[in-house]
Amino acid sequence: MATVTTPDGVSIAITEQGSGPTVLLVHGITESSATWGPVPDLLADAGYRVVSMDLRGHGGSGRADTYDLASMAGDVGAVLADLDAVDALVIGHSLGGAVVSAYAAGGPCRAVVNVDQPLALSGFQEGLRAVEPMLRGTREEFEAVMAGMFEQMRGGLDDATYADVAGSRRLVQDVVLGVWDLVLTASAAELDAVVEGVAGAVTVPYLALHGLDPGPDYAAWLTSLVPSASVEVWDGLGHHPHRAEPQRFVERVRAFDPAVPT
């Protein structure tokens, strides 16, 4: 593991393996590089230089005073610049999917894969507000509501994989509240404006891969904002489709990637 220090002084832990075109992996909320399981090895075997980073406040990276999307997108930029890999394929899961989308809106990369993070956030906002008192409550309440959320999104993960994913999580209340601050405090209209501002600026090839069906209108909505996007639903696999079927995931990434792996 190595460290990249961002311009605002946050230590970002990264791991690197393999050689070939660069792929950057960005995990989801409360998770870390470890949550990718066998995916980095499989990507390296498929001919990639695989870099996995821990988001600020997560895994081996440093805590910060702010966990907003722009800061985390800036961290992606700092990592890619440090690695001299501005033409990377950026793959983000869950929160990481939002982060890499925000990065791609302003920063250079060759393509984006967003794993199971719908960019339409109004439904998520309603759900989150319903449990807001528990999220801001005692540690026990907070942990219970987070566990409930992840359980709901389990989908097709077998017991061992589900336990492995759950074991990689660290439920840190101030980090989670910091990350979700915008969703919890912005009006629906403000949130829409942020999402449209981010998504509308993405021009590179964009694969949205969902293990939980984002709904019948989602593909049309997303492509109206990101014309280069394609939406795929691997129905029933749940929130971690890349953990449910890692080999299939890597093959799909390879087929989508505009760069030919060595």
Partner: protein
């Protein structure tokens, strides 16, 4: 990056990572918290929370006097309190070893590891005086003078990668270094020894010294008198940065020493 406000309002930058039993990491002079990176990564993997501080006048912390072991120790007390660190293990390198020694004398820690930080100046005195004189007379030569001071202590085993990293981190600010080093040099050997004895007399926690070269029989004997329970390790040829020569060994050593494990 987390910011802690010191008693006088100075903003202190803190690199706070991981979860678990807390470890406070204190860097040496002219460096900052980043010098701990390879060690902090491994400690987090081993299940610790690491809190690496930028001492005032260093790294991203405010450049607000006073600079000295006393003020640095008060700042660390503020960090331990603000981040609610319960009985941290304290690890200090070089100048940070002296600061850590003062911190653990204040209580509420579970142990101290001093990494190649002599609690007296001994052979360093003349070199430090030369650096201060150069900084006062011609600040432009300050960096060369500091590099010349550190070079003989890097040791043959420090990898080129780490040499370059330290080179990038090292920051020679005459506004900080002149008052800091002058305050350290203002004490005679006897006064330093008295201070060391006074601090040692109130220390109750496990203590480990790791040196990258032998600091000499007289010093080892004196440590043995003051801190009879202290462990003393010498890693030959590892130089002033034994923890960066072999971070894996260093972390194994921390885990084995840590009274909480």
């Amino acid at each position: 990056m987390t910011v802690v406000t010191a008693a006088d309002g100075a903003q202190l930058h803190v690199d706070d990572r991981g979860e678990g039993m807390p470890i406070v990491l204190i860097h040496g002079g002219t460096e900052d918290s980043r010098s701990w990176d390879p060690v902090a990564c491994l400690l987090v993997e081993a299940g610790y929370r690491t809190v690496a501080v930028d001492l005032r006048g260093h790294g991203r912390s405010d450049r607000t006097p006073p600079y000295g072991i006393g003020p640095f120790t008060a700042d660390l007390d503020a960090v331990v309190e603000a981040l609610e660190l319960e009985d941290p293990l304290v690890i200090g390198h070089s100048l940070g070893g002296a600061v850590g020694g003062a911190l653990v004398a204040g209580g509420n820690t579970r142990g101290m590891i001093n990494v190649d930080g002599e609690l007296r100046l001994g052979s360093y005195t003349d070199g430090m005086k030369r650096v201060v004189t150069t900084l006062e007379q011609d600040p432009h030569l300050g960096r060369d003078s500091v590099d010349a001071f550190f070079r003989p202590h890097l040791g043959p085993l420090l990898p080129e990668r780490e040499r370059q990293r330290l080179d990038e981190i090292r920051d020679v600010d005459p506004e900080v270094m002149i008052p800091l080093w002058t305050s350290i040099l203002s004490m005679t050997e006897d006064e330093l020894d008295d201070t060391m004895a006074m601090l040692a007399s109130v220390v109750e926690v496990p203590y480990l010294f790791i040196h990258g070269s032998d600091p000499g029989a007289a010093y080892r004997r004196r440590i043995g008198e003051l801190l009879p329970w202290a462990e003393f390790e010498i890693w030959p040829d590892h130089g002033h940065y034994p923890h960066l020569v072999d971070p894996e060994r260093f972390v194994r050593c921390v885990v084995a020493f840590d009274p909480a494990r």
